[in-house]
């Protein structure tokens, strides 16, 4: 966790304030370049102030100001020739830390089909960021938490971040769309910088915020700032804060927004929103990404490239064919509730730092502060039931994750692993036994990421361990699963894992354990059943309830038949339709839950619609929601908490799930659009 260590060192810096003029600033840039930093700062391009490489003070936007309004940005001349007399533009510093395109891995298929995966070569460039505003310092801190806060550390972000030198600039004039003051992130830069400048009448006060900054100031050999200069920094930034016209009240936003998921305002904003994703692209904290598979025509050399993604795309919420957020309304609601509500339990801060970029760069000028204000002004229709709170607040919100003590650098590089057996379960489903590339242990309910170079990578739940190989039960529904399911013993695939939470087996000790599976949902439950029936002294009463479309679709038939006669297991199978030979039940699994035991612990996995009905029936029987566990499925690109695609309200299915205790997902479970 070097990144955080560095941030702390910055905080307890002795205050050293110097004063320089423009020549001094030029010398400062020169020293940074001498030390091997590429200097990046604000400069005028294409009618806007963007961040790009600057070679000298001459490249800075002297005398320019950015006039901003919702959906509108224009450069105008200032009466003076201030270098930093503007606020923030369409580019944020994330473009240099969490870069828009990054090659993750390279893979090659050698003679005989042997696979080789390599982490793509990566040279962290040393960059000095010149002119980082206070809101953007806060945004960098937010992304530090996302990418380095654990349980995994994203190595590319971490390396670029460690190599960066940050020169902040205090704001003395706010822009029309700035609201950092109400978000508590500015305009005075207080931490997280190496040096901070304040531009007053053509001169700059410079304070150091880190040892690296202090060393540079020493080399610069500038004069001490006078006491009144330091005072003017405080006065100027305070005046700027007081003049900020735009504001957003951050109080209670998680409860307000997550408690108003059916507010009519979502429909109203969805009629205007283009789902173009500009807001998420310009937002300095948005971190979602997707992956592109690349290869040559023969597939013998391949790569995986991470690119910026967005919850406004259909793909973000897509799992084999269907989308969990089909409507623009679902996507806008994901954006707003993530930024301002879900972010808090996820990362311990708001996802909005009040920079105003999303307001200016929305082509139709949708204003995040107005959307929040509209919901705050008329929180939901009052439910027509006495005693209900005005807005049904999801309670309790999941607590912020504890700081990760044992974060690991997740390099996302799969390892080649050989198939030892491929067992056909049903016409479209195969169990692949894969010998893990190294020592491997997993808990029932976890999943692996399996990949084929140039084709793709998918999460596959672990359906067992045969003594030497991990079992994965795969239904051929898309290009990747189809090719995985066609692998033969001896062939190789890429594997990384295991990931995610597991079925809390021991919660069921001494209680009736009910395992409820629909279709392929039996796969992640099989290792659980094996463990439960293998420990009859702990689990005297296990009931397996399985539903499938037809008898031919039932998974693991041989193994299930072998379980007959086990003292502690009762098995009930049901199918949607069957021929005359079928001796089990016909109909949905819920009918087998009529005698659900109130003392039972329930483990449920299957299609979401099946789980909804099953859980409803279990709760109707009086089972407390804390004794029910479900396993969720969402789009997964990274499995490490970085890509954002697997979000389910405030939860990440990859690292908080896939297994959830029902009460933590209850308020989302019955809705669509998440």
């Amino acid at each position: 966790m070097e990144v955080e260590v560095k941030a702390e060192a910055k905080e307890d810096a002795r205050s050293t304030v110097r004063a320089i003029d423009r020549d001094g600033l030029e010398r400062l840039l020169g020293l940074l370049r001498e030390e091997g930093y590429r200097t990046i700062g604000p400069t005028v391009r294409d009618g806007a102030i963007v961040y790009d490489e600057i070679e000298s003070v001459r490249d800075l936007p002297a005398g320019w100001k950015d006039e901003q309004a919702p959906g509108r940005y224009r450069l105008v001349r200032r009466p003076d020739d201030a270098l930093f007399g503007h606020v923030v533009g369409p580019i944020s510093w994330k473009a240099f830390l969490f870069r828009p395109r990054e090659t993750l891995t390279a893979a090659a298929r050698g003679e005989g089909g042997a696979l080789e995966f390599r982490r793509a070569p990566f040279e962290p460039e040393r960059a000095a960021f010149i002119g980082v505003r206070s809101c953007d310092l806060a945004a960098i801190a937010v992304q530090d938490t996302v990418f380095t806060g654990g349980p995994y550390v994203e190595p590319r972000y971490a390396a670029l971040r460690r190599a960066a030198f940050i020169v902040a600039v205090n704001c003395l004039e706010s822009g029309a769309l700035c609201f950092c003051a109400s978000m508590g992130t500015g305009p005075r830069a207080r931490r997280g910088f190496d040096l901070a400048l304040t531009e007053i009448e053509g001169r700059f006060t410079v304070e150091a915020g880190s040892d690296a900054g202090r060393r540079l100031l020493e080399r610069l050999g500038a004069e001490e700032a006078r006491a009144e200069d330091a005072a003017r920094v405080e006065e100027g930034t305070a005046r700027c804060a007081a003049s900020m016209a735009k504001r957003m009240d951050p109080a209670g936003l998680p409860e307000l927004l997550l408690g108003n998921l059916d507010h009519p305002r979502w429909d109203e904003v969805a009629a205007r929103c283009l789902a173009c994703a500009n807001c998420t692209m310009v937002c300095p904290t948005c971190f979602c990404s997707t992956v592109e598979e690349t290869s040559d025509l023969t597939g013998s050399s391949a790569g995986r490239v991470r690119v910026w993604g967005s919850c406004f795309t259909e793909e973000h919420g897509k799992v084999h064919g269907g989308s969990y957020r089909p409507e623009i309304k679902d996507r806008y609601r994901q954006w707003l509730t993530h930024k301002l509500a879900s972010w808090v339990p996820q990362f311990g801060t708001s996802g909005c730092v009040g920079c105003g970029r999303c307001i200016a760069w929305c082509p139709v000028g949708i204003d995040i502060t107005e959307e929040v204000a509209a919901i705050r002004a008329s929180p939901g229709p009052v439910p027509d039931v006495q005693g209900l709170p005005l807005a049904p607040v999801p309670s309790p919100l999941p607590a912020p994750r504890a700081p990760a003590a044992s974060s690991v650098e997740e390099d996302l590089v799969p390892r080649p692993a050989a198939v030892t057996a491929a067992v056909r379960e049903t016409p479209d489903t195969v169990t692949l036994h894969v010998r893990p590339p190294q020592g491997f242990s997993f808990r029932p309910g976890q999943f692996n990421m399996l990949s084929l170079p140039g084709v793709g990578e998918v999460p596959i739940s672990i359906s067992g361990w045969d003594g030497t190989a991990v079992e994965h039960t795969i239904r051929a529904v898309g290009p990747v699963t189809r090719q995985l399911a066609a692998l033969r013993p001896g062939q190789e695939l890429g594997m990384r894992g295991p990931y995610g939470s597991s079925w809390p087996v021991d919660e069921a000790k001494g209680c009736p354990a009910w395992v409820v599976a629909g279709g392929l949902g039996l796969a992640p439950l099989r290792p659980l059943v094996r463990e439960l029936i293998g420990r009859p002294e702990d689990f005297p009463e296990v009931r397996l309830i399985g539903g499938s479309r037809t008898p031919g679709d039932i998974l693991f038939v041989r193994e299930i038949l072998g379980w007959i006669g086990r003292r502690n297991l009762q098995t009930h199978l049901t199918v949607d339709r069957a021929g005359p030979d079928w001796r089990g039940s016909i109909g949905v699994v819920t009918q087998l839950l009529d005698d659900a035991s109130i003392e039972g612990v329930y483990f449920v996995c299957g299609p979401e619609i099946m789980m909804r009905f099953a859980v409803r029936r279990i709760l109707e029987a009086g089972v407390p929601p804390q004794r029910v566990y479900v396993s969720m499925e969402r789009n997964m690109k990274c499995a490490a908490g970085f890509c954002g695609c697997c979000q389910y309200g405030p939860l990440f299915v990859c690292k908080d799930g896939p297994v959830f205790r029902y009460d933590s997902v209850a308020y989302l479970f019955e809705r669509s659009g998440f």
Binding site: P90, A277, T290, S295, L297, S310, G478
Partner: protein
């Protein structure tokens, strides 16, 4: 019509099958040939393409034409004559995986402008002996007539994307051609938005990505030549341009370009026609 292949239509390479190169057919209906020439444009990669697939039918490139069936068919052009109506059915029958390429094949093309006019009148105006011309009243996309497995948009298509579609087919992956707005590509490359910073009309927010946000990088608004993306909220965007001073005739022209006959754009332009 979605741009991504349905999962069932992407072929899997069966590792045990004897190695036979997939056979490619290239077909053309009403169009300018620009798109299929992108294939020949792939100078550096053409040898590799020819090594990996067997170009069995490609009138532009070879004289010997081998009969079908074809594993992969690239179809250019729209349907605008009675003969084409029948030919396209035959192409479909002979093709395992059919990819339409370009604005003509995916949206009817610029010639679909006649769909809003009286085509007999056009013929009289253009041809000396209109009775020799056999044409349909409309120019329509291939998908209006047969099942299409994948659409590659653009006018013309990008050769990089064509290579990606062929490679993805050969390797068996879903092509990296995203059904998302052009804005994502524009922002990823760091272009400044021309709507916000210059007040220009730009169809990027409602247009299918794929061009790499070319026009905005050259300081002009997107023409929508890749056609509408999923959930194209054209009404909201048109409203914004109207506030910016665009009149109804301009809005009609804006949405009625190379892909004007694609449903979302067609409806939007029709909404701004004089009643």
């Amino acid at each position: 019509m979605t741009a991504s292949p349905t999962s069932s239509s992407v072929p899997a390479s069966d590792s045990e099958a004897p190695v036979r190169k997939p056979r490619l057919g290239v077909f053309k209906f009403a169009s300018c040939d620009g798109c299929q020439l992108s294939l020949l444009d792939l100078e550096d990669e053409l040898l590799a393409v020819a090594g990996a697939i067997d170009i069995a039918y490609f009138p532009e490139a070879r004289t010997a034409m081998l009969p079908g069936p074809y594993d992969l068919s690239l179809v250019e052009g729209s349907i605008s004559s009675p003969e084409q109506l029948e030919q396209v059915q035959e192409v479909r029958r002979q093709s395992r995986f059919l990819v339409t390429i370009g604005a003509c094949a995916t949206a009817g093309g610029i010639q679909a402008l006649r769909n809003w006019a009286d085509s007999a009148e056009y013929l009289r105006a253009v041809y000396a002996r209109p009775e020799y011309i056999r044409t349909l009243e409309t120019s329509t996309p291939i998908a209006a007539h047969v099942r299409v497995d994948f659409e590659l948009r653009g006018c013309p298509i990008s050769k990089e994307q064509l290579l990606e579609v062929i490679t993805a087919f050969a390797v068996g992956r879903r092509p990296n051609v995203k059904d998302e707005s052009v804005c994502l590509e524009c922002k990823r490359r760091g272009t400044v938005c021309v709507v916000v910073a210059r007040g220009m009309p730009c169809l990027g927010p409602v247009t299918h990505a794929g061009c790499g946000a070319l026009c905005p990088a050259y300081d002009r608004g997107c023409y929508g030549c890749f056609g509408p993306r999923e959930r194209a909220n054209t009404g909201s965007l048109a409203g914004r341009f109207r506030e910016g001073g665009a009149g109804e005739p301009e809005l009609v022209r804006l949405f009625r370009g190379f892909t004007g006959y694609a449903e979302a754009f067609r409806k939007e332009s029709e909404a701004h026609e004089p009643q």
